[in-house]
């Protein structure tokens, strides 16, 4: 695996790759890679002749004042072990030169869901992802369904902007207690991690009610909120909602495709969890999960 430490250095190597006509899979990260990223990279490497990983703690996506710790050499080691053939990293000065001003706007979608807590975070995620897709021109780019909004909005943006790239949605990766892999949760003691698992239980309870014929969004929302209020102790509920999977606007009736989404916080850590129910199969069997032991 080649580690390229700037966009400028990556450009000629990428041009050679494109000319080869060989397939490229890409995984775009903020660094601090974990087993979830490893799954994405493994899939990219399995389905394509080249697997490019990018590492850059996107400052338009991260939140002012928050510290984002990552170790580029450790990330490179994980990427290599997972099958990456190229790692591209960059710095703020190259990514945001003076005069930078271009963002992707997807109307009200960026202000839905977790934007009530983190305004513009989703806009930053989508803009950042599309920038890296433009740079690398992958045949397929891999996004985990842990971040449902990002996966669905990047897919929408790539199609709308006529980018010739398949956006692959990779199932959310969860521990057996239901908690998704997340660099933010990893430092919590086990009991608090188990508490966070209540979000998945709440989402699954609502999905089963939907499968049983309950389509009223207020009933599903109430059920998720009640379950979370019972189970949470060190965290508290921020919201539980049912939204349209295309617009992310709250619905009154849960009709396919829809998203069940909840947010909890302890004041410092904000945790979001959701299920994108796009098909009868996902309603019946729940969206696929990659389980970790």
């Amino acid at each position: 695996m080649k580690h390229v430490r700037s966009i400028a250095e990556a450009r000629p190597l990428l041009r050679d790759l494109w000319r080869s006509g060989e397939t490229i899979g890409s995984v775009h990260t903020l660094g601090a890679l974990h087993a979830g990223h490893a799954k994405l990279i493994e899939l990219a490497a399995r389905e394509n002749q080249h697997a490019i990983v990018t590492v850059y703690p996107n400052k338009i996506q991260l939140f002012p004042g928050s510290r984002y710790v990552y170790d580029l050499e450790a990330d490179a080691a994980l990427a290599r072990a997972s099958g990456a053939t190229m790692l591209i990293s960059s710095e703020d000065a190259e990514m945001f030169p003076p005069g930078y001003c271009t963002f992707l706007d997807q109307l009200e979608r960026h202000r839905a869901l977790n934007s009530s807590v983190f305004p513009y975070a989703t806009r930053g995620q989508v803009t950042g992802s599309i920038r890296w897709i433009n740079l690398t021109r992958p045949t397929r780019s891999y996004f985990g369904m842990k971040d449902i909004e990002q996966a669905l909005l990047v897919e929408r943006a790539a199609a709308d902007l006529l980018i010739d790239c398949e956006i692959r949605h990779v199932p959310c990766i969860r521990y057996r207690n239901g908690v998704p892999i997340s660099s933010r949760l990893v430092l919590l003691p086990q009991a608090r991690k188990d508490e966070v698992g209540a979000t998945y239980a709440a989402l699954e309870a609502a999905r089963r009610m939907g499968l049983g014929g309950e389509a009223r969004a207020d009933v599903l929302t109430k059920a998720m909120a009640t379950l979370l209020e019972e189970r949470l102790s060190t965290f508290r509920l921020v919201y539980a909602t049912v939204v349209d999977a295309g617009t992310f606007q709250p619905v009154t009736e849960a009709r396919l495709p829809f998203v069940l989404h909840v947010a909890i916080t302890d004041g410092a850590i904000h945790h979001f969890d959701g299920l994108a129910i796009r098909t009868e199969d996902e309603l019946e069997r729940s969206p696929e999960v990659l389980w970790l032991d």
Copy 2:
């Protein structure tokens, strides 16, 4: 020259082109091609192994209710005669499928200059141009300096979004009376065309004042406005302004790089004209013009 009548049909042909590693020049148009487009296409064909022309009367760029007349077969003939190797056209149903929602936002820049007359026109132009650049992945894409905002903002957007494409600015093409080639002006009687030439005279007068040491924007603006008010009879002045070439915000002092910009209207036709003065050379000799007889 191959005329491809949909994005879907163009994709596999473009993939073959990319794999060839040969250079591609692109010219993106709304149709109704004229001698100005011909110059862009000729340059694209001269500087690259392939010259791709796109024709689509972008509905997010054109104005609701306005009728845009173009003859696709005539456009194809002009493109072929100018050296194009491929023409791609499309339809609203393919370009704006249900759920389309992605636009490029460049902060306040889209609301500067001609947006006071046509809100969102520039955003539509830039989004439309970047979509076609993404589709065709040209080595170089050609934009006329008649539309200064579009040329500068597309260049900014391509760089910001890490798109590997050189944005080439082609000099404005003018008749000897100073009037730029424009499909909107072509039907005017000669006397009214000559009247429109006053905009270039006003811009040039302000540039010469700048060259002579006058940097106060209000003095330059006043000079352009006075000249236009004297010379216009069937048109009237909408604005004359001096803006920063990066942000398009009005300045108090004209320092390189800046844009002199004027707008006139007769109520039906809105005509914009400008000079982008980016270098000492452009201040001294005026931005290059391609003169037509």
